[in-house]
């Protein structure tokens, strides 16, 4: 399976209510160790936007920085963006993807603690 097959997929909650579209996939470097001792990248969750397009622009972790125009763009893109933990995804071979929770239980991206970034 390719990562791009996840991007752009529609996501619904347990009852079939639309949550949005997958705009990014969050990865953590904590999988089983690989050949050179590096841990594999594991999918930890999906970033889902209520709009049908849009993307993260790179300011999500430091929302106070950047020029006003870009901040507004980011704010616009991120309004209502949610984070669906990978374990909550019911099956990945269906369209739309179904999340085994009610929409109200799914956290907003901006409420999550800032993940540890790159060094």
């Amino acid at each position: 399976m390719r990562l791009s097959e996840l991007l752009g997929r529609e996501v619904t909650d347990r009852t079939g209510v639309r949550i949005g579209t997958v705009i990014d996939v969050r990865l953590a470097q904590d999988g089983p160790p690989r050949a050179q001792g590096q841990a594999a990248l594991r999918i930890t969750g999906l970033i889902v936007s209520p709009r049908s397009s849009g993307r993260l622009l790179g300011y999500e972790r430091t929302p106070k920085e950047g020029p006003w125009l870009v901040r507004m763009l980011v704010l616009g893109f991120n309004r209502g963006v949610r984070y669906v933990p990978w374990e909550w995804v019911d099956r990945i071979d269906t369209t739309p993807l179904r999340v085994d929770r009610a929409a109200s239980e799914i956290p907003h991206l901006r409420d999550l603690p800032t993940p540890p970034g790159r060094p």
């Binding site: 993307r55 622009l57 790179g58 950047g66 020029p67 006003w68 125009l69 870009v70 970034g117």
Partner: protein, 409 residues
């Protein structure tokens, strides 16, 4: 001299934006038709290109990533491809025109028809890209292009009433018989040319060619803040010369031959010789800038090895693209299309390319994951946002104005 040699990348880049074949004629035409009434556009353009060239030079120095890498990353493959198509067309059309421009300069010197020079010029442009090292290339053509400073000397020799010039430039008024749409069309054409996208492609890729690192942010800045203002000065000097020589007579400039007249009027045969060598060097330099940029953009979009810092064998696809672009450019020129008209029509593609090029630069120049401490300051961001809006407005207005005024006729 050493200081000047260190900033030749900025100078050569600026030549492509301010005194390439299209701009030489556009500056002269604007001076001859509007006097000093459009001079204000040049400083506006200089500030804009300085701002964004500084950002992309800093990004290239700190991360090693040239502009089209940023475009692909932040716009994704689809919008990135749209930008690639538009930017490549602008660049390739301009390259085509520059080949014609070099040939026209040779015709002025020898009176041998320019079409006979076109294949030779195409071959020479390719040969320099193929063989000559990047540093030597930018030094030779950047410094030789500075011979156009002869326009400033001619302007001084023509001895205008400087108080009056300053007044005309700061109180722009439409000359009788000229319409506002045409005036605006030329304002946008000059602004668009100053901020033409291949400048940032070339400048940032050139920084990578010169192996800039974190320590070279200062070098990048001096290139920007010396090179582009110099380009702007040349541009204004040409405009001033034709404003003095042609504007009072009601003569409109539309050929390269006429562009070279003011230095001959003011300085005689010596002036003429210097201006012809200067035009040759500037158009040839712009041909190198656009030829390389055509290769840079495609290679950087697809992730191919590019650059003159490796053996040509190691960057086969990159050299393949530049070679093919030059060959097509030569063939288009040989159909006897007017080189100056070709640059006028490339403005259509600039309209798409400009905003899609400058937005990703602004975004990445602010990204701490990329830039660490060296993110944009408040001034860069405020002005950057203002110019992004200006660029967007100009690119939206360019095409309707071009149609309404029949490209400024």
């Amino acid at each position: 001299m050493k200081r000047l040699l260190a900033v030749t990348l900025g100078i050569l880049t600026a030549i492509g934006g301010f005194v390439d074949i299209g701009d030489l004629v556009a500056n002269a035409l604007v001076g001859s038709r509007y006097g000093f009434a459009l001079a204000w556009v040049v400083p506006v353009g200089v500030v804009g290109i300085c701002l964004y060239a500084e950002m992309c030079g800093r990004v290239a120095a700190i991360s090693g990533r040239p502009v089209f890498d940023l475009i692909r990353e932040r716009l994704g493959p689809r919008l990135g491809l749209a930008n690639l198509a538009a930017s490549f067309l602008v660049t390739a059309l301009t390259l085509t025109a520059e080949i014609g421009g070099v040939a026209l300069a040779l015709e002025l010197a020898t009176s041998v028809n320019y079409l006979l020079w076109v294949p030779l010029v195409g071959f020479l442009v390719w040969l320099v890209i193929w063989r000559v090292g990047f540093a030597r290339m930018e030094q030779v053509f950047g410094l030789a292009g500075l011979l156009l400073i002869v326009f400033a000397v001619a302007l001084w020799k023509l001895g205008p009433d400087w108080g009056q010039v300053l007044h005309d430039a700061s109180h722009p008024a439409l000359p009788p018989g000229e319409g506002l749409p045409t005036y605006l069309y030329y304002a946008i054409a000059l602004f668009g040319a100053a901020m033409t996208p291949y400048e940032v492609f070339f400048f940032s890729s050139g920084g990578v060619e010169e192996h800039w690192t974190r320590r070279d942010v200062g070098v990048a800045r001096s290139n920007v803040f010396i090179g582009f203002p110099l380009g702007g000065v040349l541009s204004l000097a040409i405009m001033g010369c034709t404003a003095l020589v042609f504007f009072p007579l009601g003569v409109g400039v539309d050929t390269l031959g006429q562009v070279a007249m003011p230095p001959a009027v003011a300085l005689g045969k010596v002036g003429l010789a210097i201006v012809l060598v200067g035009i040759f060097a500037a158009t040839f330099g712009a041909a190198l800038e656009t030829g390389l940029s055509a290769g840079y953009t495609v290679a950087q979009y697809f992730g191919w090895q590019w650059g003159k810092f490796v053996r040509p064998l190691q960057a086969a696809r990159f050299h393949g693209v530049t070679l093919l672009t030059i060959v097509v450019g030569v063939m288009v020129m040989l159909t006897t299309v007017d080189p100056i008209k070709v640059t006028e029509y490339s403005i259509v593609f600039s309209a798409v390319a400009l905003p899609l090029t400058y937005l990703p630069i602004l975004i990445v120049a602010n990204d701490p994951e990329y830039m660490g401490e060296r993110v944009n300051g408040r001034i860069s961001n405020t002005l950057g946002t203002v110019y992004l809006v200006l660029v967007l407005a100009a690119s939206l207005a360019a095409i309707p104005l071009m149609i309404a005024t029949k490209a400024g006729q």
